[in-house]
């Protein structure tokens, strides 16, 4: 899966499941504020990542994810790690 494909997939589920307007998804924007995430929403984000990319997010990993770009990079890295594992 290329980085572009990963970004496309993430944006698709954010629009579909988290009901965010596509035009609000800007790489430099803050993920939590844009999606208006509360603690329950993070649980659903874990579920959706697992079902789309096949890996489990550890809660602590979210600490370093601030922007959409951080999120793309994180998923991209985990997918790559999984592929080489």
């Amino acid at each position: 899966m290329t980085q572009e494909e990963i970004i496309e997939k993430i944006n698709a589920f954010l629009v579909d499941e988290f009901e965010v307007d596509a035009e609000k998804i800007i790489p430099t924007s803050n993920l939590r504020e844009t999606l208006e995430l509360d603690s329950l929403d993070y649980v659903d984000l874990v579920v959706i990542i697992e079902s789309n990319f096949g890996f489990k997010v550890v809660a602590e990993d979210f600490i370093n994810i601030h922007t959409f770009q951080d999120f793309y990079d994180y998923v991209n890295r985990k997918v790559a790690e999984k592929a080489t594992a």
Binding site: E17, E19, L40, D41, V43, D44, V46, V47, E50, K56
Partner: protein, 407 residues
């Protein structure tokens, strides 16, 4: 000094329709809502018969956070409550400023529980259940979700009393308002409709196996009945004090005048004529009326051989002289279980408002007990001033409600 308790809003989502108007037409037409669910046969059910209830599409109506916590039955309850609040003229700005409660009957959320357990077994990771699972899985899924969505500030809990849940919810709400503890309560009953909900019930051979003719399968009081048909959806009955309804100019649809209840103290699944008679007499006493004042009885009768026989005996024992019209709307809906006590108040109030008694369809030949009742098998034009609705459940829990036309 007790308060008078009136009904100011009704809402329904059932196999007979998704609005009061649709349901009224189905009742008048004697239309069956029963069909076949072939998935049940794949799961080893004796009977694939079920009420056919459509799932509402809530995307675009409710936001994601509200939707993820809703179980199947809570979705139905949301739709029924939305309709009831609209016709009770309760808008959100009024609700936020007043103490409105919720008492809803529900006694399972098997689909949500089953799916959660399947996920735990498969993934061995509880986080992967998602945030909504807990709010869908608990028995109080309806009251928990609706109190949040509608921002309710009054009494808030679920009544679990098997197939009398919805009736007791209205009865308890009636008592709270009568005694001045609350002014406005959203009452009702909800029932999930899926293969996970009814497997154990099917396993008791309680369901009709007349699969070749679904519309004829539910035949309460008929000599050739062979079991009930599970069904569901949700029904909401908004009740309030007469003074409160008058004060805010709400439409007053009917008055609740009597609530009777009892426990059989006998067998866990068999009916008790004595228990039912005690419930009926208590309701009449509470209403302060004679048996002869009841114009119509919406019977609990589910189409099981033993249950209908006992209820016919109980009705005859109390109403044998006056012989009011009797029908079981379960002949059309199937058994809406936890919801039935509330939906049958909705159905009967619609009949009262529109001057007809809906038929007990498929009643072709009586048995020894039902021959003594005045069972209405065809839609009959009739002015109903007072009706009684029975609900009985496993464990021997009985509930009878008496509703009167406001004049």
């Amino acid at each position: 000094m007790h308060n008078r308790v009136v009904i100011t809003g009704l809402g329904i989502w059932s196999c007979l329709g998704k609005s009061l108007e649709e349901v009224k037409d189905s009742l008048y037409a004697g239309k069956s809502g029963i069909g076949m669910d072939m998935e049940r046969k794949e799961w080893g059910y004796r009977s694939g018969l079920t009420g056919i209830v459509q799932r509402p599409e809530l995307k675009g109506i409710l936001d994601r956070r509200a939707r993820v916590g809703l179980s199947e039955e809570a979705e139905y309850a949301y739709m029924a409550t939305l309709e009831a609040m609209k016709n009770a003229k309760m808008d959100m700005s009024w609700v936020e400023k007043n103490e409105v409660g919720i008492l809803y009957g529900n006694d399972s959320s098997a689909k949500a529980v089953s799916e959660a357990i399947d996920t735990i077994r498969l993934k061995k990771d509880t986080t992967l259940l998602g945030s909504g699972s807990i709010f869908q899985s608990m028995n109080c899924t309806v009251t928990m979700n609706l109190s949040t969505i509608f921002k309710l500030k009054g009494i808030n809990f679920t009544i679990s009393a098997a197939c009398a849940s919805g009736s007791h919810a209205i009865g308890l709400g009636y008592l709270m308002i009568k005694w001045g503890l609350q002014k406005h309560i959203i009452c009702g009953g909800a029932q999930e409709v899926n293969p996970f909900a009814f497997g154990s019930f099917d396993g008791l051979s309680a369901f009709s196996v007349r699969e070749n003719d679904p519309a004829k399968a539910s035949r309460p009081f008929d000599k050739d009945r062979d079991g009930l048909i599970p069904s569901g959806g949700a029904a909401t009955v908004i009740i309030e004090s007469y003074e409160s309804a008058m004060e805010r100019g709400a439409p007053i649809l009917a008055e609740i005048v009597g609530y009777g209840f009892s426990s059989n103290g006998e067998h866990i699944s068999n009916s008790s004529v004595d228990g039912q008679i005690r419930s009926l007499n208590m309701a009449l006493k509470d209403a302060g009326i004679e048996a002869g004042s009841i114009d119509y009885i919406n019977a609990h009768a589910t189409s099981t051989p033993g249950g209908d026989f006992a209820e016919a005996q109980a009705i005859d024992a109390v109403f044998g002289e006056s012989k009011p019209m009797v029908s079981s709307t379960k002949s059309m809906t199937g058994h809406e279980c936890w919801m039935a006590g509330a939906s049958e108040i909705v159905y009967s109030t619609l009949m009262m408002q529109n001057n007809f008694v809906a038929p007990n369809i498929n009643f072709e030949n009586p048995d020894e007990a039902s021959a003594k009742l005045n069972i209405v098998s065809k839609t009959t034009e009739k002015n109903i001033d007072v009706f009684l609705s029975n609900s009985f459940g496993f464990g021997g829990t009985n509930s009878s409600l008496i509703i009167k036309k406001i004049k």
